[in-house]
Symmetry: D2
Subunit: 383 residues, 4 copies
């Protein structure tokens, strides 16, 4: 029989959006099974979720600290934990499981404070534990193809970068009639207690930072920003000028009040020999324009994609893969890496291709720099 990992969840009760995505994504490959959880702090939801997933009742925990301790003690304890609670709880939970010697996969944003992120990164290194952070869009095959094309010099030396991540689901927050408890359910998003120092930049802006870094390897040296909260406690819109460590400039825009945009992460990389443009709404495609040539629409699954990354798709061309597959691809590599570690083997570079606690830390730094710059009148802030 093939080895199968055991995993647990903190957060992710039935009907919770992102927890369910994690479960389905893990189920794409029959190499990990859900055996424990602390799915909700509401007891009935916790029990109900455990039942739906046929979890043994003694492994449905009311408390995540108890769970970390109990699972660490069992001979058949979980290999990794998947944390999909509200963001403000990530830090404490991740720390607890690391301390217990259990591998961690955590939703982004990793946490709210740079020092906390650094502590988690140090702890994972010290304990030699895998720590994945689900910047899931990097799991899309075509972003991997883009990364390889850039590395192979297909677009030459990078000269300009443009990224945006725009949504419109918080438009109602702009209603002047609304205020305080009057606001819609998303209000916690703009409450500093639950969202830290940023709403929009923290929630979606970090995906731009992460994706550009993933694709190009460039790191942000400094940035200058404006943010807009429109009378709310936290930002709903932000514009950023970026300077990377190699001197290249770029610009980012994120918004949750841009009518007509649902989940529009779009990254565009321009080089001396061509360009690449990718949009999350149509993840199976990549627009590639070689210098002096016509724009081409590269498609996942087609034979003309020679990059190794092209092989990580799971369906023939023209059969849309979507978000679950992106998540599943991130998990495929995380699980392969944990399996290798359990077997005392060294994971390959391909298996290590997933976002880690270091990416999480970079995200937290990015958010802090944006907010600091905006508060200081758009001055340049070094990362």
């Amino acid at each position: 029989m093939a080895e199968r990992l055991r995993y647990g969840m903190v957060g992710g009760s039935l009907n919770a959006f992102i927890g369910e995505v994690h479960r389905k994504a893990i189920a794409f490959d029959p190499r990990a099974e859900l055996v424990a959880g602390c799915f909700s702090n509401i007891e009935s939801e916790n029990v109900e979720t455990g039942e739906a997933y046929h979890i043994a009742t003694d492994r449905v925990y009311a408390d995540y600290m108890e769970m970390a301790k109990a699972e660490a003690a069992r001979p058949d304890g979980i290999d990794f934990v998947c944390i999909t609670t509200p963001n403000f709880l990530h830090y404490a939970i991740a720390k607890e499981f690391l301390m217990a010697g259990i591998h961690v996969v955590c939703e982004k944003p990793l946490c709210f404070k740079v020092e906390e992120a650094e502590e988690l990164a140090a702890l994972a290194a010290e304990k030699d534990l895998v720590f994945g952070v689900t910047y899931s869009y990097t799991g899309n095959t075509m972003t991997k193809v883009a990364k390889e094309m850039i590395a192979a010099g297909k677009i030459g030396k990078i000269v300009s970068v443009n990224a945006e991540y725009v949504q419109d689901w918080l438009l109602d927050e702009l209603d002047e009639a609304h205020s305080g408890s009057d606001k819609n359910l998303s209000v916690w998003r703009t409450d500093p207690e639950f969202s830290g120092i940023s709403n929009c930049v923290g929630d979606i802006g970090t995906h731009m930072e992460n994706m550009i870094h993933y694709l190009t390897g460039m790191k942000i040296k400094r940035l200058a920003a404006t943010t807009n909260s429109y009378g709310n406690a936290l930002d709903l819109n932000a514009n950023m000028l970026i300077e990377y460590d190699n001197g290249v400039n770029g610009a980012y825009w994120c918004s949750q009040v841009a009518a007509g945009h649902m989940n529009g992460l779009k990254v565009c990389i321009y080089g001396t020999e061509g360009s690449l443009e990718w949009e999350q709404h149509f993840p199976d495609y990549l627009r590639y324009t070689p210098r002096n040539g016509a724009p081409q629409t590269l498609s996942r699954g087609c034979g003309y994609i020679k990059e190794a990354a092209g092989a990580c798709g799971r369906l023939p061309s023209g059969h849309p893969e979507g978000l679950y597959v992106a998540f599943a691809n991130v998990y495929r590599n995380i699980i392969s890496t944990i399996l290798k570690k359990k077997a005392g083997q060294t994971p390959t570079a391909e298996e290590l291709d997933f976002p880690t606690v270091i990416d999480g830390l970079n995200g937290v730094k990015f958010v802090h720099a944006v907010i600091e710059s905006a508060k200081a009148g758009t001055k340049w802030v070094e990362l």
Copy 2:
């Protein structure tokens, strides 16, 4: 604990494209688990697949007839079988499991002969067994939204229909240099022994017939067709004029040699009050134009979709769902229906919203009519 169905597979060894899709789709909801299989007639592949899915060794069968018998005899035998073998085996396998009293889900095309299809339909009815046929595109949320909009009169009385399903993956078959064993791996597709009387119309053309019927309720009264085999044994391209039972005309085109098209199923319905257009490559969207209004791009997950069907999506708007979800939605209803039947309850209309053996039968009739018309010089053939 929530009830969970047990299912088995015939076909679907590791790396088989469509079998794997079925397994992942079923795994989307934790209501059915794979416990038995006859995955391949190659022993090593059969065993290997069983191991990968942690199937008990005595339930990995070398022979599907043995499997039907053994599973029917067990108290914990499978509730349904999922048939994803090559098409020419569908009929015999489906019949065997029906005879054993086991619910069936079968890939399309159901089978090659009209009489066989009628026999399977009659058998399912007689035994009161569920028989799903995976015309999976009807599982997409936006096709369900379109169906409801049409039923609600949003586009008025239908006046014209246009559908196409175009691919290009068999373009190499046109090479005159190629012949016989020289041909690429897809050659069985154009071999009558394995593909029946039609390749292209049978493989993809039937999706047009099924989808238009699903969306509008209209049935084809008669059709007139041309087919092209370009020197091969079976068709690679076909054009059809359609007349529906209510007098409306339409046209279908299917091809596997149309360069630049990957998996382009597109259905367009025009009415006195507006139109709806849906394309499989971008399944989360639906183009709706009200008469005298501007075209709108409706998107799965958005609040403005008031149709009940809108709720069957699983992700927020802008998060692409893709093919697995379409399949998973078909299975969700099939599994709900089987659960209701096991509990002696009547499934709801919503739960019964999946393609059945009757759709499979209609598909076989359609294929025969197309081929007959083309052979008879494009004469009208009644269905």
Copy 3:
């Protein structure tokens, strides 16, 4: 001073849509000036148009027969006449000017009867006069690029053709409440007296026939059709199966009741080595997919277009040209040809690249074949 042609118009009073397009298109190049006209049978409109264009009052004619005679007699008489009257008048007017020895440019459809079209073609040949018919879409640079690419073998041997021309501006004609004089202003379009035997096929369907012939050189051998008039006197929708003289099959669809389509002429040509797709709404672009390659969006004005035709654009890439330029390109060649003839020189092949009375004749034959086939139960009709 460069030689400048003199031309006159029959039809095309101020505010008449297509006459105005002709005038602006001719004005694109300063090689022909409007000096005479019989713009309308309503005297005030005729006079007013003459004044707006600073035409000498004695050359604003109340009667086109008088105009042909007078202009032929003048030493500075018009070199060519441009006919943009309602369609049912084309034949008589064109004949009159040919008889007078004046070159003719006529809007399509050329006329209603095959014999009339043949008579005009014979007369032009006999008199050695230029006779242009403004199938204007062939004036678009990218259609010329496509034509050259096909001729150069870029898409190999053609295997399939698909064309559509769909509009929705006659949707109101489907209202059952409307009837007779109740109908909107477009009613003459569906009146046989003014539109001949066909409305939709004659008005827009012929553009498909002409464009495919222009691009590929293939001629239709026979066709089988359905038409729909929805209770009106003439067709508003039609579907056609096509067989070309080289055995290739194709399908055409035209409609004026397809909600959401404005002026959607789209032609798609599939070959053994690739495909080309062009859509009138975005005339500056051409979708080209080489076999086994990614789809490319070729754009007018870009350096990678090596075809000679690429040079016939007038603006840099990314600066949209639109319909006037298409017309202007048709006229550029007609005017060059007439200038060469006046100078006793032979026009080049490039200068002769415009639709002629022969194309007009083919269009009339096509319309008759479609209507005959539909009336005879979709039987194949040879052209």
Copy 4:
């Protein structure tokens, strides 16, 4: 006879791109005729252009100063001059004709220095002369529709603005192998003597500033920018953070080295009640998303466009208009205004809808602010 204006040109010899566009645009309406010119400082080109346009030889001038004087003195002298020379000559020429009492239409950028622009504005005011500056994109019907929709409150209160103008035709300038005289023909574009203080921002960036102001009425209060020259004398790429006078933020990006973009002016305006997005490549369309509704593709020429501006189109829907029509619409209003002035009448608000010397002045200020900010380390610069 209808009154017809007489006009002359400085610049615009045969084959000069933009001068030819001006001539064709003016020819769209038979209300102005070209009668004089100083088309080139190369004598043969000047003469040749005069001949092609049948200009009287004594009105083809070798010197623009002589032309201003002579035309001002003639009883049938030109009503307006159209200046389409290289940019660095605009100021002196415009001043000369204003001094001579002749109306002026000048290409953008108006000139290089703020003081010069202010001088021209003052002079035009003092002499009561019309001074149009051809920010031609505001002539597109759909930008006028957008302007009216915003004014009518269709998208509510503006909350965010995003604009870009990206091209790739100067990509070759990035070649490190190229230097000095080695560079391609576009080198003057990056030479301060001929291009002033900016290349890219001055050439195309100003269109963003102008268009957003045209659409919304908002004026830029201050901006912060980065520019990139990649080793050349002037900028080829720039990113800007914008703050408008009403406190709204936005971001602009312009580039001439963004592979895959031809002439991509795109403006996006987001409000509390919806959004509008317009892209120059497809000028006949406007994407409108009402808050909580589906995105609609509004199209020029369709009956559902109730705005008065909708009427300024010249072709039915689906018949592409393109750049010439945009220019022609700008000229239509300029010519109407001059005609009114000549007749001692007051132009209507609609007739005055064209960009003037004030817009030109604002453009010059914008360019200076961007360059100043970039040089000062991205500090905020007030306009």
